[in-house]
């Protein structure tokens, strides 16, 4: 019986931790979430302790029933919360109801146990032993949770696993005291059913996690939509907005200016009266916002595959604030088409071309980083023009970065690589391509927050851990970049 105290105590604390972690995952702001969850949970335990006085006879079978209920409610709580998060507006109501329910049931456990054991063990001994085991269980749980359970089992499986333990306690107790319990058979079979359900839940956890993407985002999701091309998710934290495409962070409103200023100004800032600009990718309008800072610009053509993105950033008021209405500018023409398909029969020439595609993480995207594509760009770039390619992280994917540089060179460009630090991404890299050498007197627009004459110079120099490594280049018939990129990021995130 005392072993069960230990198990029960561990389980109890785990549910509390699971709920707290989940709440801070899903709702953000972990300090608030944790303390309100813990407070509510403890209070609910109090309710449970109070309610225990109303349970009079058949204490053993009550105890077993409650164990079963705790196991089921606690075990399934994480799964239920996961699934409901996206569907339900009153998510908090459900969250706190579950916490109260679990807390109440857990609160019933110890008083009941004490009453069951009071005739078997002397009172002072009982109290001392029960609380000892209770606190050891609590210590055990709080160490186990962050060190072993979360890293190895994950939130969902942890919760199912402890539900399983709770129900096992019920089963063991029922088995041990079968002669003292009325309706023993029924209880035992219920336990078996509960075990089976929890086991299935455990086994399906991976699927469940996949179903619910919320776990993957640190902040609250305010917009989620699957277009034919990608999953678009917008989150809002305490102090920033973030856009994710297929789970990959595109920007955080906190520091995106660093990224977009670095993308645009080192190239565009050195052109003499640029007029016609092409933006490939970048449907969020942030690059366009930077480009519009040059008064000589007459026309911007933005080609982005996905009209779901361009529409979102044209229509949503908060997002329009971020890009300063750039997509509504009369100078802009938005074309929703595949960039490679579009460019093949493009005859117009451009003074500046921005290429801001997702990283080359698959063969489809890899095509947009090949000599063939870059030669098409060469064809439509004006003689004194320049282009810039977002080229992944030269720190994480060093070889990949230099493959982009080599590919541009192979396609006929003179190149200049640079990098900058964007806190939410890390070290990020870009490559400029020219047809002829461009001297540098920059003409930066006023009011930039990151790029200036003095800050731009250091960006062109690479510390030894990011210098050029690779001279292979990427072609349609030999996509070395995709494999290299996959490997480098896998090594990094492992």
């Amino acid at each position: 019986m005392l072993i069960s105290v230990f198990v029960v105590a561990t389980c109890g604390l785990i549910y509390e931790l699971v709920a707290g972690t989940l709440a801070s995952y899903l709702l953000g702001d972990s300090v608030t979430q944790f303390s309100t969850i813990i407070g509510t949970y403890l209070f609910a335990m109090g309710i449970g302790s109070y309610l225990s006085r109303f349970l009079k006879n058949n204490l053993l079978s009550w105890f077993i029933t409650i164990e079963l209920m705790v196991g089921m409610v606690g075990g399934f709580s994480a799964g239920v919360l996961f699934i409901l998060f996206e569907q339900v507006i009153y998510f908090r109501v459900i969250l706190y109801s579950l916490v109260i329910l679990t807390g109440t049931l857990v609160g019933l456990e110890l008083p009941l146990l004490m009453r069951i054991l009071k005739d078997r063990i002397e009172f002072s001994d009982l109290v001392s032993r029960i609380f000892t085991f209770d606190y050891i269980g609590a210590l055990f749980a709080s160490l186990l949770f962050p060190l072993i359970l979360i890293p190895y089992l994950g939130l969902l499986r942890t919760s199912f696993f402890f539900g399983f333990l709770n129900v096992s306690v019920a089963w063991v107790v029922a088995h041990r005291f079968q002669h003292d319990i009325k309706g023993y058979k029924k209880l035992k079979w219920s336990a078996v059913v509960c075990l089976a359900l929890l086991g299935t839940g455990f086994a399906l956890s991976e699927k469940l996690t996949a179903l619910s993407e919320t776990l993957t985002y640190p902040d609250k999701i305010v917009y989620a939509k699957s277009s034919p091309y990608q999953r678009i998710v917008l989150t809002r934290g305490t102090n920033d907005w973030r856009l994710f495409l297929n789970g990959n962070l595109q920007f955080s409103s906190l520091d995106e200016y660093r990224y977009h200023e670095a993308l645009i100004h080192p190239g565009l800032g050195r052109l003499d009266h640029p007029e016609n600009v092409l933006v490939l990718g970048g449907g969020d309008g942030m690059a366009v916002r930077e480009i519009l800072k040059y008064p000589s610009i007459k026309k911007i053509t933005l080609v982005d595959l996905d009209n779901a993105v361009t529409d979102l950033f044209r229509s949503n008021a908060s997002l329009r604030n971020l890009n300063q209405q750039s997509l509504l500018s009369p100078k802009i023409q938005v074309i929703n088409q595949d960039a490679f398909v579009w460019i093949r029969d493009q005859q117009e020439t451009f003074d500046f071309i921005t290429v801001d595609f997702p990283d080359p993480s698959n063969y489809s995207l890899g095509k947009l980083y090949t000599t063939t594509f870059y030669r098409e760009l060469y064809r439509i770039l004006s003689p004194a023009g320049c282009l810039v390619i977002q080229s992944t992280s030269p720190f994480v994917a060093r070889k990949s970065f230099w493959i982009v540089d080599a590919t541009l060179k192979k396609s006929g460009f003179l190149t200049q690589a640079y990098h900058c630090y964007v806190p939410s991404f890390g070290e990020w890299g870009f490559v400029l391509g020219f047809k002829q050498k461009l001297d540098v007197p920059y003409h930066f627009p006023a009011g930039l927050k990151f790029i200036s004459e003095s800050t731009v110079q250091p960006l062109y120099s690479f510390p030894p851990d990011m210098t050029v490594t690779e001279s292979a280049y990427n072609t349609l018939n030999n996509q070395v970049l995709v494999n290299t990129f996959e490997k480098e990021w896998a090594d990094y995130t492992r």
């Binding site: 991976e206 999953r231 962070l249 398909v341 063969y363 995207l365 095509k367 991404f425 349609l476 030999n478």
Partner: protein
């Protein structure tokens, strides 16, 4: 720190899979396989058996008539066109192309037969000239041809489904025991030796055109035995290796280990030495519609000379030259053309019916492998297994089929779920006549069941995702290089012109059915004809 491409890719994949499922289910509609039987014009072609044509009602005169608008016929026409325009090409199909025919639907163009061309050898000058004309070669760098990057097969190129996994490349390695891998390696090393070898006559041991290969008896001796025997003599016994070599024979010749000449088998591995400034030597050129693209380039200036729906049924020698009788499908009339020479760019089993002359060889030595090709359209996409993603060529280890080719591989845009895949199956395991008869009797539904059975191995959900299946039977798909055929007397005699006015040009005269040989046969015949007209 959160990285841009962060840790969630795995989850995103899981999500994509779970999103795909409902989509697949809702797309489950009954599909209707459609069957096409035989080549370009089955009904018309079969009138050659009955030979019940009325007497010609019109007559005309020209210098040269080319019968057959496959690659060989078109190549002859292309070559003639450089010096003369007074010639006519007769093709029984509604369109020229023959075994390199292609089709298309709302999703993509696709091949019905030939679908790729390996980089040609650098001494194959006429072919290289043609590729330059077609802008498939865009220029030269360091004396090496630069191939058009849109036509070089895009990555990922080939994958093999083996041990429940899609491995990269077609040579089995995933889960293959060390010993077998060693055997495969030594086989490939042996083939590499043949590739670099020269015969005692100083010529390359194996090359394309076949005709230019070394005549060293030490090399030609391999034509007397089967590839199976060759492997046995060299103590190769690994089932993985045997499967792979069998796959290669089926791929290039539509034949099995036990009826392919070892010389031909080695030729597959040892004859391709194309070099290029911008691709590896094993690269291939391919297009959504397969070699039909090359056909369209070949016939570019030939429209005025081509007559389609025109079935030649008689070739008669007369004092001044030859008379060709043909049946015009559109007007349903027979016509006569008087010419100074004719190029018969038809397979020998057809030429046999058109010609009375004794050509001094046995037509029966020309055997043709039947093929079944299916174009399969899916709007919901393929559900993938572990390993390499969808590639250009997708093969299943252990299968009798050659797997399938992705028609959209050369598309530059983002991939979409809609797909057209071309499934290839040479019909093996009995004599060609039996197989051909059986193939024609098999219904479209039966073919479909067999195809889906095979496709379920790597794609268990395939049935739910398919929109339609189109089947095409090539009764005489490819000439079979059985032992003693390529270097035997019959083939060489068949190539001889008759009385210096009837010339022959078809890939079967090379003993190997590939674009390069058909192309070569065509311009070779055209050259000979130009000497006399």
């Amino acid at each position: 720190m959160i990285t841009r491409r962060n840790f969630v890719t795995r989850m995103a994949q899981g999500m994509a899979a779970s999103l795909a499922w409902p989509a697949l289910q809702s797309c489950k509609a009954p599909f209707h396989p459609v069957a096409h039987l035989s080549g370009p014009n089955f009904k018309l072609g079969h009138r050659l058996r009955a030979m019940n044509f009325k007497a010609p009602t019109a007559e005309e005169q020209t210098d040269v008539v080319i019968i057959g608008g496959g690659v060989a016929g078109l190549s002859a026409a292309r070559y003639l066109k450089k010096s003369t325009s007074t010639f006519v090409l007769l093709e029984l199909g509604e369109e020229t192309g023959g075994n390199a025919m292609g089709g298309s639907n709302s999703i993509s163009a696709y091949p019905w037969g030939a679908h790729y061309l390996p980089l040609p050898n650098d001494h194959d000058a006429e072919l290289i000239t043609f590729l330059r004309e077609a802008n498939a070669i865009t220029g030269y760098e360091n004396n090496l041809p630069v191939y058009n990057e849109y036509f070089l097969c895009f990555d990922p190129k080939e994958r093999l489904f083996i041990n429940q996994y899609w491995q990269d490349g077609l040579v089995p390695h995933e889960g293959v025991p060390e010993k077998d891998r060693g055997e495969i390696e030594s086989f490939l090393a042996l083939m590499h030796d043949f590739k670099t070898k020269k015969g005692s006559d100083g010529r390359e041991a194996f090359t394309i055109p076949v005709e230019e290969s070394s005549q060293d008896p030490e090399l030609l001796k391999w034509d007397a035995i089967t590839m199976e025997e060759f492997l046995r003599q060299h103590h190769f016994s690994s089932p993985y290796l045997l499967w792979y070599v069998a796959y290669c024979c089926a791929d290039d010749f539509g034949s099995s280990l036990n009826d392919t000449s070892a010389w031909a088998g080695i030729h597959y591995f040892a004859s391709r030495k194309g070099k290029s400034a911008n691709a590896a030597s094993d690269a291939v050129l391919t297009w959504p519609e397969g070699n039909f693209w090359l056909v369209k380039q070949l016939r570019q200036n030939l429209e005025p000379n081509i007559r389609t729906g025109a079935l030649a049924y008689d070739v008669i020698e007369n004092a001044g030259g030859v008379e060709i009788l043909y049946f015009d499908d559109k007007s349903q009339t027979s016509r006569k053309i008087k010419a100074r020479a004719v190029i018969m760019a038809t397979p020998q089993f057809v030429s046999q019916r058109l010609l009375k002359a004794d050509r001094g060889f046995d037509y029966k030595t020309f055997q043709y492998a039947p093929w079944m090709v299916a174009n399969i359209t899916t709007t919901a996409g393929l559900v993938e297994r572990k390993g390499e993603p969808l590639s250009w060529d997708n093969v299943f280890y252990g299968s009798q089929s050659l797997g399938y080719v992705n028609a959209l591989n050369q598309r530059v845009g983002m991939s979409s779920p809609e797909k057209v895949i071309t499934y290839y199956q040479p019909l093996l395991g009995a004599d060609p006549v039996t197989l051909r008869t059986r193939a024609y009797k098999t219904t479209a539904e039966e073919w479909t069941t067999a195809i889906l059975n095979d496709l379920t191995k790597p794609h268990p959900e395939i049935e739910e995702t398919i929109k339609d299946v189109n089947i095409w039977i090539w009764g005489h798909g490819m000439i079979k290089p059985v032992p003693n055929f390529i270097w035997g007397d019959h083939r060489s005699r068949a190539a001889n012109p008759v009385d210096n006015r009837i010339f022959f040009a078809h890939s079967d005269l090379s003993g190997i059915s590939i674009f390069e040989e058909a192309f070569y046969q065509g311009h070779k015949a055209a050259r000979a004809v130009l000497n006399i007209v």
